[in-house]
């Protein structure tokens, strides 16, 4: 599949600090690439380098097969960016803000009108067209921020943490909108430190930590690449240390923890993990309720690779 964006050996330093450390990245046409990493892992710096906003020390960036420079206006035409910070004009209404940013790409007035209304529809701001930004809630403001970045129907959309500090309703709306844009043909780079969002909407995932790519692949590939295979959680009023020890002795168990009436057992790949656990509990007449079985998450991937939680 054709790569729309190719980053090779990218290095960006701030004096002694290496913000981006030899990063390679491929963004396939028509796919959603998720950049996952904790705050300060280099996601935004990488985006700013791709956009030719930031100077970098080493490496190359190609978009649509061409070297990206500040003067690559024909490439810039194809890109839409939603920055992490809301960047709208307080003096303009919702409609006027979207129209302003769309006018930087689209000259034709009629076409622009159609695009602006399309963007308003997509983010669900129809009832707020004439509102000025300070009258909007945080979630609606984020939606406006997105509409300003994507109104000109770009081929490549870069969204940098678009759901930070938004309510669940706006978050769902935003994620639905992104999926819709992708279905309409846009290639998307989506950065976030929310693994659930990345897991939900991205085709390919790149995990960054301290400016380095520590893993890449599809969600399935990443989860299969780690030792953790499944997690079983159950509630029980009492669980003795002896029983807990016996559970841990199962060859597939990586870790078993009992705290506040709840026990979580983490398993490697293996057959009949759940069955074996139930057998042990029954053997000791342990009463249990609400057994939950879950597959590994991207957080588990991150935890296994770095030894720390994504949210740390």
């Amino acid at each position: 599949m054709e790569n729309l964006i190719e980053v090779r050996g990218l290095v960006k330093k701030y004096k002694e600090l290496i913000a981006i450390n030899n990063v390679d990245l491929d963004v396939k046409k028509g796919k959603i690439l998720g950049l996952l990493g904790p705050n300060g892992s280099g996601k935004t710096t990488l985006i700013n380098c791709i956009l030719s906003l930031l100077d970098f020390n080493k490496g190359s960036i190609k978009i649509c097969g061409e070297e990206m420079t500040p003067e690559s206006y024909h490439i810039k035409e194809k890109i839409g960016v939603v920055f992490q910070d809301v960047g709208v004009f307080e003096e303009l209404t919702v409609y006027e803000n979207i129209d302003y940013f769309c006018s930087l790409y689209i000259n034709d007035k009629e076409k622009r009108k159609k695009y602006v209304n399309g963007a308003i529809d997509l983010v669900g701001l129809n009832d707020f067209k004439k509102f000025v930004p300070k009258k909007l809630s945080g979630g609606l403001l984020r939606r406006l921020n997105i509409a300003c970045g994507i109104a000109h129907k770009p081929e490549i959309i870069i969204l940098d943490e678009p759901t930070v500090a938004v309510d669940p309703q706006s978050r769902n709306n935003i994620l639905e909108g992104i999926k819709k844009l992708n279905k309409e043909g846009a290639t998307i780079i989506y950065t976030s430190h929310y693994m659930e969002e990345i897991d939900l909407i991205c085709d390919d995932i790149v995990i960054l930590d301290k400016g380095k790519v520590i893993a890449k692949g599809t969600s399935e590939e990443l989860k299969n690449s780690i030792e953790v295979n499944e997690k079983i959680k159950f509630d029980t009023k009492k669980l003795s240390q002896a029983v807990l020890k016996e559970i841990k002795e199962d060859k597939n168990v990586i870790e078993a923890l009992y705290k506040d009436g709840s026990c979580e057992v983490i398993y490697k790949k293996g057959n009949n993990n759940l069955l074996n656990l139930i057998k042990t509990l029954n053997k000791h007449n342990i009463e249990y309720e609400a057994i939950h079985l879950s597959m590994p998450t991207l957080n588990d991937v991150f935890l296994e690779l770095t030894g720390k939680d994504l949210r740390d």
């Binding site: 500040p70 003067e71 960047g87 940013f101 300003c148």
Partner: protein, 369 residues
Amino acid sequence: MFRSVYKNTFKILIRDKITLFWTIMFVVLLAIMFKMTFSTLDEIDKFETLPIAASKEVLQDEYFKLYLETIEKEKYIKLIMSDDNNANELFEKKKIAAYIKDEENIVVGKSTSRIKETIVKSLMDGYIQNKSLVMNILIENPNVNLDEILKFNTFIKDESQKSINIVSTYFYTLIGMQAIYSYLWGLKVMYMYEANLSTQGKRNTISPINKKKSILASIIAVWTISIITSLFCLGFISFILSVDIGNKLFGILLIILLGTFTGVSFGSFIAVSNKQNIEFKNGIGVGITMMWSFFAGMMSSYIKILIERYIPVFNKFNPVALITDGLYSLAINNAGIRFYENMIYLIIISVIFVFGTMFFVRGKKYESL
């Protein structure tokens, strides 16, 4: 694209109520306050002629004597010839408000009120300022007919024989300050285009339009707004407050055009020349504009005269002083050499700020954001 950027920038900035307040309402309020203060002075002036003594030595200067006699004729003062001893006696008997020992040495009586003291000083300032003008003309044109120039009737009256009130210079300084206040627009517009200053700047930088062209279109838009706000304030001061700004429309327009452009370029320079936050940058702008206004004579015209006398080069690079002096010379001198000299200095200052701004925005990519 140029037209669209111009139109959009105009629309965004004209709705910025805070900047509009500082560039229009603040100036209008100050002008009203000035008018009220000086109206009180006028009232006092109407009813009481100031008795002023002058030394025999100072009256030997025929031009100074002519000046004093002219303002005596207009009943501003009652002139008494005296010497140091006699003056002390007259002060004790409260028969004089001030004693002019020489041009630069005026003794004011202990019982003389602050208002009378200010009037005496303003009258002397008027003379010294005009004398400085004549000296400049003589340097530029030694063959000029001095008798014509030194007729105080033409010196303090324009061709229509209308008197130029010295307090008008305070309003000229206010107009100067207002024009330089355009820095607020210049500062704001740079925030729209510099990716390291704002997210709007990032959006504009990653868009496919040529950054230099869009900055140019936006600068022209803010210049337009600055000209409109300046003309509004000028109109208010002239028509509503009835302050004499003369009738040399071309000259006045040229001052406004160059003065506001200097303000806009000053603002752009502040915006891009340092990495402080916008509040700090606004503080720099206000501080420098206030300092310029002070040295241009906004609080006391005597300050401007002192600067002219001791460090004349300072006011050559003080845009508020240049605008004030430009308006003053227009009112008294039919846009002569002094006027054009002021305009040339304004152009030089603007060019310095424009090149300074270009120097700081020349980078294509940023080191950090």
